[in-house]
């Protein structure tokens, strides 16, 4: 197939490598040292502290030195897994993140294709609109959406009533659990599709014209070209934007916190991060909060690894 042309197999000079092994190792170590130091400092140490704190009863009293530390072992985890609310929130988070990821990819992908097909002026307008959404800080974006969807004074309700939907007068968009999740998901998709769109657009226009021409000369249909030429070439980019989106949407905090007033009516709209904040950090139970953080990290690593393995199994190098 056409895309195999692009992949150059690295040539290994095996005996030479073995002979120089030691020198190479030191050189590699020297090259890697700066990265290792930065990763160790910025990632390793916080992660180590996170795991450590999660094993203690560590609250504000302990942090500011007013009370002795108590080692709990896995006590925080036991308490967490024994809380039925945690499981509800976890399920909600997974479902909500899945909707956001799929929505973001669909909207971003569709608009990337659109951008690659239209003329310069409409494309520029599309990009300006997308970059506007992208550049808006999450808190500001969420607040603006809340103004638009306000129960009493919101533009959306006013327009809907004007269009004849009288039932929408004073309609509360954040009262019902699923309506509230839907509204937040729409906001999340709105502010995260530009990243997907810009990335995929760059990928699409980078596909050499000759390859597409060759495909059409071979008599491939549009669907076939997309399936066997364009998508495989975009694959590395798709992997990146999918993983990024999964990580972002799973860790979502601001939008839920701002738009549902800290987790919705009776905590209906809690997601893991807001739950961790409410249960643990706002209540100064840092040990418990860290335990939730560790669980989230492990879950995200697992999801990412499974995803990468599934991709590798399907036979495509990244």
């Amino acid at each position: 197939m056409t895309h195999q042309v692009m992949v150059a197999e690295p040539v290994h000079d095996v005996p030479a490598r073995q002979g120089k092994r030691r020198g190479d190792g030191w050189a590699a170590a020297r090259y890697l040292t700066p990265t290792l130091l930065i990763l160790g400092g910025l990632l390793g140490y916080p992660l180590y502290q996170l795991v450590l704190i999660s094993l203690f009863d560590y609250g504000q009293e302990q942090a500011s030195g007013g009370a002795p530390l108590e080692f709990l072992g896995l006590g925080n985890y036991q308490k967490l897994f024994g809380d039925p609310q945690f499981w509800t929130v976890l399920t909600q988070t997974v479902g909500f993140a899945a909707v956001c990821v799929i929505g973001t990819l669909a909207v971003g992908g569709a608009l990337a294709v659109l951008a690659s097909r239209v003329r310069a002026v409409p494309r520029m307008i599309l990009f300006l609109a997308a970059l506007g959404a992208w550049a808006t800080p999450a808190v500001a974006g969420s607040t603006v959406w809340m103004f638009l969807f306000d129960t009493d004074f919101g533009l959306v309700n006013e327009v809907l009533v004007g269009l004849g939907f009288d039932g929408m007068a004073n309609y509360s968009w954040t009262y019902d659990k699923f309506v509230a999740f839907g509204l937040v998901a729409a906001q999340v998709i709105w502010c995260s599709f530009p990243f997907v769109m810009v990335t995929l657009y760059a990928g699409i226009i980078a596909i050499p014209k000759e390859i597409l021409e060759a495909a059409s000369l071979d008599g491939a249909s549009t669907a076939r070209t997309v399936r066997t030429v364009i998508l495989p070439l975009l694959r590395p980019l798709l992997v990146i934007v999918t993983i990024q989106s999964i990580i972002w949407d799973f860790k979502l905090f601001t939008q839920i916190y701002v738009m549902t007033g800290g987790g919705g009516v009776a905590g209906n709209n809690l997601v893991l991060n807001v739950y961790a904040y409410q249960k643990a950090f706002a209540a100064s139970e840092y040990g418990m909060g860290s335990a939730i953080g560790v669980v989230m990290t492990v879950l995200l690593l697992a999801v990412t690894l499974v995803y990468l393995r599934a991709l590798r199994r399907s036979g495509e190098p990244l």
């Binding site: 560590y58 302990q62 500011s64 007013g66 129960t151 004073n170 509360s172 009516v265 009776a266 409410q278």
Partner: protein
């Protein structure tokens, strides 16, 4: 192989060096007492800050004139993010103020964190200190020690629209039982109005209902707190409050997510016939659609003529333990928290003073203040004075309970039992 071994040894070394316990900061007391330099002060930001800022600026000017070489740096912090700000201040003396305003419900937690310094001796040596209302000073104490000067009291009472009541020919409720039927009747006659604007997150409006019914949210026995929010008296009070959050009074779809500010805001914008509002809401109400068309009465209790116990809210001024200018900090706390500036703040903001004599003179001259003074004299209550309260508050235990009930997700018995369980686990943790 050697490289990998080196890396492992390095990593293990780092672990050993950093020790196997989370960091704890040392005791915060600085021990120094400088007499010049910059005195850092944190005050809360307000919706309409200008009048507060003007009074504070006056106090700063007076203080700087009195103490040569001292500069007072006032920062206004957001109430919503106060918890993070104070936690950071307690953990790191460099980012900490010398004097701070804080809510009395937060005090127990702050003291347990070792954030504020004991000022019992300073307050008793202070000539104005003896006039402080004893029940209000009680809200500044933990285990008998004073940790702050009460700066103002916040009490809530029943606001109602005089024009609506006159038009419908109804009288303000005489007992707490009368509120719901009256509110229902008003909404029936005027469907565009909420009968009474209260909210699913408005804990301080719910508490008087529980207290009036003879209930408590928690009880202390031998120093141990336990929740009583699932007692039958407390449940009766919760039932009376949640009855107001029904479609025929204040529909859950609109009111379930309202806290105190949002509930009062409905009254301010003319969408509610009654609300439970504080003396501190006066400016907002005066600036809104209800201006000149409202009056305030104490929230009635179960017997006609009685007053439902109100929550004694309010803010204190305290000195942080980490201060390097303890004397200056104490002096500024006593200046800004003294009678002169409390009276100025009352004139500027409507904040109720914490001095009994000042309360009496002001109450005699201002009909607006009178119902609040009556409420104060009838006896006020407070939330459990334990650090666990901050936890219960942060975890939104009581708002969640109210919301479970008004959305019909759980009956009162079940919701209050669940809340009691959560409270108890906070008390014992």
């Amino acid at each position: 192989m050697r490289l990998r071994r080196l890396l492992v040894i390095g990593a293990l070394g780092t672990l050993a060096l950093s020790g196997c316990a989370p960091v704890q900061s040392a005791s915060q007391s600085s021990g120094t007492d400088e007499k010049s330099g910059t005195l850092r002060v944190w005050l809360f930001d307000e919706v309409n800050r200008a009048p507060k800022e003007a009074v504070v600026a006056e106090a700063v000017k007076e203080f700087e004139a009195r103490n040569a070489g001292v500069k007072v740096d006032v920062q206004y912090i957001q109430i919503a993010s106060r918890a993070e700000r104070f936690k950071a201040a307690f953990s790191d003396a460099k980012s900490s103020p010398d004097v701070a305003e804080f809510g009395n419900t937060d005090l127990a937690g702050y003291v347990a964190s070792g954030g504020f310094t004991d000022v019992t001796a300073d307050v008793s040596a202070w000539p104005e200190g003896k006039d402080l209302d004893p029940s209000v000073l009680e809200t500044g104490k933990v285990d008998g020690k004073v940790y702050g000067v009460p700066w103002f009291v916040g009490l809530r009472a029943l606001y109602y629209r005089t024009d609506v009541f006159a038009e419908l020919g109804v009288q303000p409720p005489k007992t707490i039982e009368e509120i719901a039927p009256l509110a229902r009747r008003i909404r029936q006659a005027k469907p565009e109005l909420y009968g009474i604007s209260v909210g699913g997150k408005y804990t301080y409006a719910m508490l008087p209902f529980v207290w009036a019914a003879g209930g408590e949210i928690a009880r202390q026995d031998n120093g141990k707190w336990s929740s009583t929010v699932d007692s039958s008296a407390a449940r009766a009070g919760i039932a009376r409050y949640t009855e107001l959050l029904k479609d025929d009074i204040c529909p859950p779809a609109q009111c379930a997510q309202n806290g105190g500010d949002a509930s009062v805001q409905q009254f301010v914008s003319g969408k509610a016939a009654m609300t439970i509002g504080g003396n501190f809401n006066r400016q907002a109400v005066e600036a809104g659609a209800a201006k000149g068309k409202y009056a305030v009465v104490p929230l009635p209790g179960t017997a006609a003529g009685s007053v439902a116990p109100a929550f004694a809210g309010g803010n204190l001024l305290g000195v942080l333990k980490s201060t390097q200018r303890r004397t200056l900090a104490k002096d500024f706390m006593q200046l800004l928290g003294g009678k002169q500036y409390q009276e100025k703040l009352y004139r500027a903001m409507g904040n109720l003073p914490t001095f009994s004599d000042l309360q009496r003179t002001l109450g005699a001259n201002d009909p607006f203040v009178k119902p609040f003074i009556t409420t104060s004299e009838a006896g006020t209550r407070f939330v459990p004075a334990t650090p666990a309260w901050a936890k219960i508050d942060a975890q939104a235990v009581l708002p969640n309970m109210i919301q479970q009930v008004i959305t019909g997700a759980q009956p009162i018995d079940q919701a209050s039992s669940a809340a009691a369980q959560l409270m108890n686990s906070a008390f014992t943790s």
